[in-house]
């Protein structure tokens, strides 16, 4: 084999190695393992009161939220820095304090709806997610909150970027040898 041919072969093998690693990372990034499920409920939520729960999440976590609430109840899914959580512990949470909390600068509303919410949330950074159901009406609705934490083996964004970059690099490295092989086969 001539030097150029050997060089393209070595490049192709390195390219295939890069593609294998890229595939491994891609496979890992789609695997999600459930870790814990919590459930809280209230058969009657008095007016002005809030039923809430929280989970601290990271870039590899997926939080699946299932909420059912009766008439007059508002559902909030909020993300805030971990330090902010102490504020909720020290003050009794009701509809007024919840609205004041949500109005703060570094508190982000991920979802806000009424009656029913079934959704999975992914995160780019560490945060605390608060799921709250506030009775802003005058009735006594029933409320049910179920949160399932799932762990992704590799953070989705980072895993896919890494996998894509490595896959492209691998393809570029393997391409000259593949082209050479195809051309050689064609000339026979």
């Amino acid at each position: 084999m001539m030097p150029a041919g050997r060089l393209t072969y070595v490049m192709a093998r390195f390219g295939l190695l890069a593609m294998a690693i890229s595939l491994a990372v891609l496979c890992a990034s789609v695997i999600v393992l459930p870790t814990e499920t919590t459930h809280i409920s209230a058969s009657e939520l008095p007016p002005g009161e809030v039923l809430w729960d929280y989970r601290c999440v990271g870039p590899n976590t997926v939080l699946e939220v299932k909420i059912w609430a009766g008439k007059g109840a508002h559902i909030y899914v909020i993300a805030c820095p971990e330090e902010k959580l102490a504020q909720l512990w020290y003050s009794e949470l009701n509809t007024t304090t919840l609205k004041a909390f949500v109005a703060q600068e570094d508190v982000k509303i991920l979802a806000r709806t009424t009656r029913r919410l079934v959704r999975a949330f992914c995160f780019d950074e560490r945060a605390c997610v608060i799921v709250a159901v506030a009775n802003e009406g005058s009735g006594f609705p029933s409320v049910s909150i179920t949160m399932t934490m799932k762990v992704r083996l590799v953070p989705l964004g980072r895993g896919r970027t890494f996998s894509l970059a490595l896959g492209i690099t691998g393809t570029v490295l393997a391409l000259p040898y593949a082209t050479m092989r195809i051309a050689r086969r064609g000339s026979r």
């Binding site: 093998r13 294998a20 491994a24 990372v25 870790t35 990271g58 762990v151 590799v154 953070p155 980072r158």
Partner: protein, 273 residues
């Protein structure tokens, strides 16, 4: 001009790689080495609760490499203890040495294909795992990351040097494999005995020998990481950073001494069957 004529060792390396790392073996190995540690990523995230960031980094690295190191040792056993010894037995080495290639170059080729390539897989595995999950932590403590990486490599390099020496001296695949496994056990048994003696008596000399054989343990102890959460150590206080570096250098010096001994034997005494 053909490359083979200019660089005969490269030609032999190419033949060796073609034999031992035929498509798709290296690709499958790369996939497994990259994928397998990622299974432990939930545990790695749980380690984020540890106080010292350096300790966190070492725990994360050890999660990615513990099983991988064992698999790599098996790979080296297959390549060196079985592969090289069988090549000597079957007279293949004699054929290789008819090439215009020096014995030292041939030795280097075998070292690359038999030991250094499997070790490169460990490095790849640790780098992919840490770089993908905790890039900021690894970059922030790059010195700890590199020292840890060297310590993980040392864990494999020293037993591999003994296997290499045994394969050249014994020259029979089966016997060399058995001796290689026995040596691996011996190193671990000696290490455990030193750990126990050090733990009971607190002798400083024993502690130094133990940490020289296990530089990773010294590094972990330096960052106050006890094995399995229990204060099981070879006695004495935590080693300083310079002591850790000295233990690591000592380990590499011993491994290199064994490789040099194997090389000298190969150059002066070795007669292919």
């Amino acid at each position: 001009m053909a490359v083979g004529r200019r660089w005969p060792p490269l030609e032999i390396l190419a033949m060796d790689l073609k034999e031992a790392y035929r498509f798709p073996i290296p690709e499958i190995l790369a996939f497994l080495y990259a994928f397998f540690p990622l299974i432990f990523s939930p545990v790695a995230y749980a380690a984020m609760g540890l106080e010292a960031e350096e300790a966190r980094l070492l725990i994360i690295m050890s999660l990615s490499s513990s099983m991988i190191s064992f698999i790599t040792i098996i790979l080296i056993l297959k390549n060196i203890s079985y592969g090289l010894a069988n090549e000597i037995r079957k007279g293949l080495v004699q054929t290789y040495l008819t090439y215009p290639v020096g014995r030292a170059s041939f030795f280097l080729v075998k070292l690359i294909s038999g030991v250094l390539i499997p070790i490169a897989y460990i490095v790849l595995s640790i780098c992919v795992f840490t770089g993908l999950l905790f890039p900021d932590l690894a970059l922030k403590h790059l010195d700890v990351f590199l020292l840890g990486l060297l310590a993980f490599v040392a864990d494999v390099l020293l037993p591999a040097s003994l296997m290499f020496l045994a394969a050249i001296a014994v020259r029979r695949g089966g016997a060399s494999l058995a001796i290689g496994i026995a040596l691996l056990f011996a190193v671990n048994v000696i290490s455990s005995i030193l750990l126990m003696i050090g733990n009971i008596t607190g002798w400083e000399g024993v502690r130094h020998v133990y940490y020289t054989l296990n530089p990773l343990a010294a590094l972990m102890r330096h960052y106050s990481l006890a094995i399995g959460g229990t204060p099981l150590g070879p006695g004495g206080g935590a080693p300083t950073m310079w002591e850790c570096v000295a233990y690591l250098s000592g380990n590499y010096a011993i491994a290199i001494a064994f490789y040099v001994a194997a090389l000298i034997y190969f150059l002066r005494r070795f007669e292919p069957v």
